[in-house]
């Protein structure tokens, strides 16, 4: 049995693709990583990355499809002080993922979007994978290892 298996956990949250759920998703992520005793910085980083991914799903994933009562799912798992967070929508998908990930690129400049969402996710998490197919949706998989794991492993 691995050393830190007592922390292993997985949760699945499904929410309406409505903007008020951005805050809800952040709270879920905070609660999920609480057992890792994250630093204030680590906590903010995860909350911000989740906020970006959920906002993308709501804003871009389901544009013009609100009548279909779209959902966003967030799956979080924890293994050996590494958290994996998958944010998934079944919306329009991204035609050109590398372009979408380019800093300052946005399809909605008139809407005061900064185009910094993916850049924020990339700099606040250890890794960010984007799986997307046009017409089928987008899944963002983010991972982050927590420093407390290093500290307590030495104890």
């Amino acid at each position: 049995m691995a050393k830190h298996n007592f922390l292993a956990n997985e949760v699945l949250v499904q929410m309406d693709a409505r903007s008020q759920n951005e805050g809800f998703a952040r709270l879920c992520a905070s609660a999920f990583i609480a057992p890792l005793n994250p630093t204030v910085s680590e906590l903010t980083e995860v909350k911000t990355a989740v906020s970006e991914a959920v906002t993308n799903a709501i804003l871009h994933g389901y544009e013009g499809r609100e009548h279909t009562a779209p959902k966003v799912t967030m799956r979080m798992s924890l293994q050996d002080y590494t958290v994996t967070i998958c944010i998934k929508d079944e919306g329009t998908g991204i035609r050109d993922v590398p372009l979408a990930r380019t800093p300052l690129f946005t399809t909605r400049p008139d809407d005061e979007r900064s185009g910094m969402g993916f850049t924020v996710m990339e700099s606040f998490m250890d890794s960010v994978e984007v799986l997307s197919a046009e017409g089928q949706g987008t899944e963002v998989v983010m991972r982050k290892r927590f420093s407390n794991g290093q500290d307590s492993a030495a104890n």
Partner: protein, 101 residues
């Protein structure tokens, strides 16, 4: 999210508190833009000292207000940034075009 305005000589100060995300940014944009266009002050300062969370939606909102002040020939400043919010400003290069107090 809550908002309070302070009118100084030729400068409007907007004190924001709470969380700035895509959900709250639209209302924030509308209220600050309305107050600014209603007055005659050229300069605008956004004070973030009571902001508990901000993501890139806040960056977009700040860029929008910066454009408003440019249109009127005024200056834009932000103040009271926490370390995390400062990092967002630096990531997006905003600190190069907007005065950080």
């Amino acid at each position: 999210m809550a908002l309070r305005f302070r009118q100084e000589p030729d400068r409007l100060v907007a004190e924001v508190s709470g969380e700035i995300d895509h959900h709250s940014a639209a209302e924030l944009k509308e209220r600050i833009a309305r107050e600014y266009s209603r007055g005659t002050a050229k300069d605008l300062e956004l004070n973030f000292s009571q902001v508990t969370f901000m993501d890139s939606s806040g960056v977009g909102m700040v860029i929008g207000r910066f454009k408003d002040t440019q249109t009127r020939g005024g200056n834009m400043a932000v103040s009271g940034l926490s370390g995390d919010i400062k990092r967002l400003f630096e990531l997006s290069g905003l600190h190069k075009i907007i005065q950080v107090k």
